[in-house]
């Protein structure tokens, strides 16, 4: 490092005075030393304030500051008065608004007046001269450092820390291992069972009726008119022990398109019922509900990150960060004409995870 440039530290720029101790002054690196740099002109003469010169102004400022503090007292008392005089009347939103507004304004008055008063006091009345304090190098003096080294040397000598390496090394080992139980203790943050199978199954199964979200009423195929969209949950979701967890996987969107608008791939021919199709509502990106259906274009839009899925192409991704199409739920109708699932989803729904295909 010492030979990397042609300069020496320059006392007129920075550094040396604050770092005078030590035999080697700190290196200035590639900083340029200007021999005839302009000299610091020293302090500007103090420009007195009006309140320094005119006792009447000073008196007026004094009154102003104390008036502000007085206003603050009024504000704080007003807050208590408002608290009592403007209670919240259950069901009356106007009373909440009024309570919030008046309480806030009076407390704000109490605070702001103190603040403005104190700052004004300091600016207009307190001594306005700039003062100077010398800096000292941040590092300890050589004497202090020598003492510190001595402390460690003595400590080492008296304990034999450096000499008795077996003790030292086993101690380090013990200290490193000691937090391990703490890590193990956190295993029970989650239940013992493996999460992967859970992620691969939903409440859907053969014959489970498609019901409206949130009412839970079943849907007749004839109710699903062309161009309509239904937010759907499996029948019996409300009785489920883990309602939200199941809903987070089982939420489905049902739409009806003209059968000729659907491009059905091999093996999925009987997954729709006369153009009624059901797709998982959980985005394959990070799991937001893909709740926005554009009737004209048959596109589904996820409002979180704008992934778009084309329903006519079996919910293939046409824009945005998602990769996989929304999983399709195979559906049909039961004897009473209600929409039912033919099976569970044939692949995990929602965001990708490492073991998805394993």
């Amino acid at each position: 490092m010492a030979n990397d440039h042609d300069g020496t530290p320059d006392s007129s720029i920075v550094g040396t005075t604050v770092e005078k101790h030590g035999n080697n002054p700190p290196h200035a690196g590639t900083a340029v030393v200007v021999s005839d740099r302009i000299q610091n002109p020293g302090f500007e003469p103090y420009r007195p304030r009006v309140s320094d010169l005119d006792p009447a102004v000073e008196k007026a400022q004094e009154r102003r500051v104390s008036a502000l503090f007085f206003v603050s007292i009024i504000g704080s008392i007003a807050a208590v008065v408002v608290y009592i005089l403007f209670p919240i009347i259950p069901g009356d939103m106007e009373s909440v608004r009024l309570n919030n507004l008046l309480l806030g304004i009076s407390i704000a008055l109490g605070l702001l007046a103190i603040g403005i008063g104190a700052v004004h006091w300091s600016k207009a009345l307190m001594d306005g001269h700039d003062m100077v304090e010398q800096r000292h190098g941040t590092r300890g003096t050589d004497a202090t450092r020598a003492k510190a080294v001595e402390v460690f040397t003595l400590g080492n000598k008296e304990s034999g820390f450096g000499r008795r390496t077996l003790i030292r090394n086993t101690l380090i080992g013990a200290l490193v291992v000691s937090p391990v139980p703490a890590i193990a203790l956190f295993r029970d943050l989650a239940p013992a069972e493996d999460p992967v199978p859970l992620l691969k199954h939903t409440l859907w199964a053969e014959g489970v009726r498609l019901t409206r979200d949130p009412s839970g009423t079943p849907i007749k195929a004839s109710d699903v008119t062309l161009g309509s969209a239904f937010h759907v949950i499996p029948e019996g979701l409300d009785e489920s022990e883990h309602k939200l967890e199941e809903k987070a996987k089982a939420a489905v969107l049902v739409m009806r398109l003209k059968p000729e608008d659907l491009n059905v791939s091999a093996g999925r021919e009987d997954w729709n019922y006369e153009g009624i199709i059901a797709y998982s509502k959980i985005c394959t990106h990070v799991g937001c509900p893909v709740a926005l259906y554009e009737k004209q274009t048959h596109h589904l839009l996820c409002p979180c990150h704008q992934s778009q899925f084309d329903i006519t192409q079996e919910a293939a991704v046409i824009f945005g960060p998602a990769k996989r199409p929304l999983p399709q739920l195979p559906i049909t109708v039961d004897a009473e004409g209600y929409l039912v699932a033919k099976s569970d989803f044939t692949e995990p729904v929602g965001p990708s995870f490492w073991e998805r295909k394993l």
Binding site: I38, G91, N99, I107, G115, V119, G287, G320, K323
Partner: protein
């Protein structure tokens, strides 16, 4: 203590108040030797500049957060136990929701001042993160992170990350629809982490998403663990500030060896103390006038519905934007395992970006090789490359941030969503480059202008006709105090590669020389006294 013997004699003339103060001070000092601290710290000097108050804003808004947050803890119930809402907000009456959501509604509609405190807490949190960000930008653009303040920069960076973590955990506590979707996104991101993602999510949520544990766990993080670390880190941050003393801008009489300003007692104490009350008052005023996070309009969390235009609080926007800007199709399968590049890449870019922010001081110190202490803050123009890098970084962040509102930008300006995303993708790469070169040019231009003014004075606007008929505009010279501000900056040259003692040039040396060339090739040297003299002779 010898003073105890003298006191009775002196005390005769003193008023009751003075006697009490004296007695109390003595009582405390005899038990704490606090007089030593008062002597050391009481008259420390703080330099004055408007930009130095940004850190103060952060500190004071944090105190406001602590005070308002403490109030909220008395009423909030951090549990996801299902209850039927029976409070006074009619539209949600009888609806099943978690106790967390119900108690948030009770706080808002049945506790006097509860809504006010919620809004104070939320607004103060937004201000806290914003002021930390601006404070960091001030430190960066003035080079105030240079030796001996690199460690304090790192601590400040940690505070910035903690502040965002506090914001996110707090935002998720009410268990409303919007914050629940935020957690759903976190869950999806965590699940995208290779190998361990599924398990981390499982442990975090205590089972399958959303589970019934997450609010309680985030609550412990939000009100115990994170604040404890924050308070400790702020303590060290302040301690190092006192040890290092504050930087100051160049000015007449100010050198690298002194601090010029006002003493803590009384002027700074009055200003800073007063400023705390002003910050508190302003937050209170905002909270009484402007609604924030109206969870009752979102309703309780339900995995199925979502509203259009969802977006997080502003400081999480850059992370959300990073997710949005990933091009389609970034996911692969290899040996049956799923690699979600659309999540992994943003998850890598963000730490790399933040890491560059955290370690920039060390990179610059390596390039300059300057081991001296620096207490004079640079004007941004006098470090053109640093300022340009900063501008590029800000642009990068801003593009990620803007992308988090891509849908709102599209609807407000009647653009297509696809167009906005594509535009943001392009600008994320090109924007920083443009910003870099523009900023560097502007800085050098400003430096040239400074140099011109220092040498030849400024245009006075006075046109004089010379005897020969020629018109000239009279230039007026700066006085030496004004000139000093323009000429007193540091200047670096590119590193010359030289072989070491073994006649070799190390790779480190080559890299440093390349970086140094990039940094300091375009430089405007400060005006010297010779130049001033000769320019005066010309006139």
């Amino acid at each position: 203590m010898t003073t105890t013997e003298e006191r009775p004699a002196v005390a005769v003339q003193k008023s009751r108040g003075t006697r009490f103060t004296g007695w109390a001070a003595n009582y405390i000092d005899e038990r704490t030797s606090i007089s030593g601290i008062v002597k050391e710290v009481g008259r420390k000097i703080f330099p004055d500049h408007w930009s130095f108050m940004l850190g103060e804003v952060a500190l004071y808004s944090f105190i406001v957060i602590l005070l308002s947050g403490t109030f909220l803890t008395f009423f909030f119930q951090a549990t996801m136990v299902e209850v039927e809402y029976e409070g006074s907000y009619v539209p949600l009456k009888g609806i099943e929701m978690s106790a967390a959501m119900a108690s948030t509604l009770d706080l808002s509609f049945d506790i006097r001042g509860g809504l006010l405190m919620r809004q104070v807490h939320h607004w103060a949190a937004l201000l806290f993160v914003a002021s930390i960000g601006l404070h960091m930008l001030r430190i960066y653009f003035t080079g105030a992170y240079r030796k001996p303040r690199e460690i304090n920069w790192l601590i400040g960076f940690v505070l910035f990350v903690l502040a965002m973590a506090e914001g996110f955990t707090g935002y998720s506590l009410p268990d409303d629809l919007l914050s629940g979707n935020g957690l759903r996104i976190i869950d999806g991101m965590v699940k995208g982490i290779p190998v361990i993602g599924t398990w981390i999510s499982y442990l975090l949520f205590g089972g399958e998403f959303p589970g019934v544990d997450i609010v309680g766990r985030l609550y412990v993080l939000h009100i115990l663990i994170l604040p404890a670390i924050l308070v400790a880190a702020i303590g060290v941050h302040m301690l190092l500030l006192i040890i290092n003393k504050h930087t100051q801008f160049a000015g007449p009489g100010r050198t690298n060896d002194n601090v010029v300003g006002v003493p803590i007692m009384p002027v700074f104490a009055a200003k800073a103390g007063g400023f705390f009350f002003i910050i508190f008052g302003v937050i209170m005023l905002i909270a009484s006038l402007f609604q924030i996070n109206p969870v009752w309009t979102y309703g309780p969390y339900d995995p199925s519905p979502v509203s259009a235009g969802t977006q997080p609080d502003w400081y999480i926007g850059f992370a959300d934007g990073a997710l949005r800007l990933v091009p389609p199709g970034w996911e692969t399968e290899f040996l049956g395992a799923t690699f979600s590049w659309n999540i992994i890449v943003p998850l890598l870019i963000l730490p790399v970006f933040l890491g560059l922010v955290a370690f920039y001081p060390f990179i610059e110190a390596w390039i300059t090789g300057d081991k001296r202490e620096h207490h004079i803050a640079d004007r941004p123009r006098n470090a053109p490359t640093r300022t340009a890098i900063g501008a590029a970084g800000v642009t990068f962040y801003a593009m990620l941030w803007a992308a988090a509102s891509s849908d709102l930008i599209a609807t407000h300006f009647r653009l297509s969503i696809e167009g906005v995303i594509h535009g943001c993708q392009v600008l994320l790469i090109v924007g920083p480059i443009i910003a870099y070169f523009m900023t560097k040019r502007i800085c050098i231009g400003l430096q040239k202008k400074d140099r011109e003014i220092a040498l030849h004075g400024f245009e006075s606007g006075r046109i004089v006709r010379l005897p020969g008929g020629e018109y000239i505009e009279v230039h007026e010279q700066l006085d030496e105090y004004q000139r000093w501000k323009l000429v007193s900056y540091e200047d670096y040259v590119p590193l010359m590669i030289r072989p070491d003692a073994n006649g070799r040039i190390s790779i480190n040396q080559r890299m440093r020389a390349a970086a140094s060339g990039w940094f300091f090739e375009d430089r405007i040297a400060p005006v010297t006294s010779k130049e001033i003299e000769s320019s005066h002779h010309e006139h």
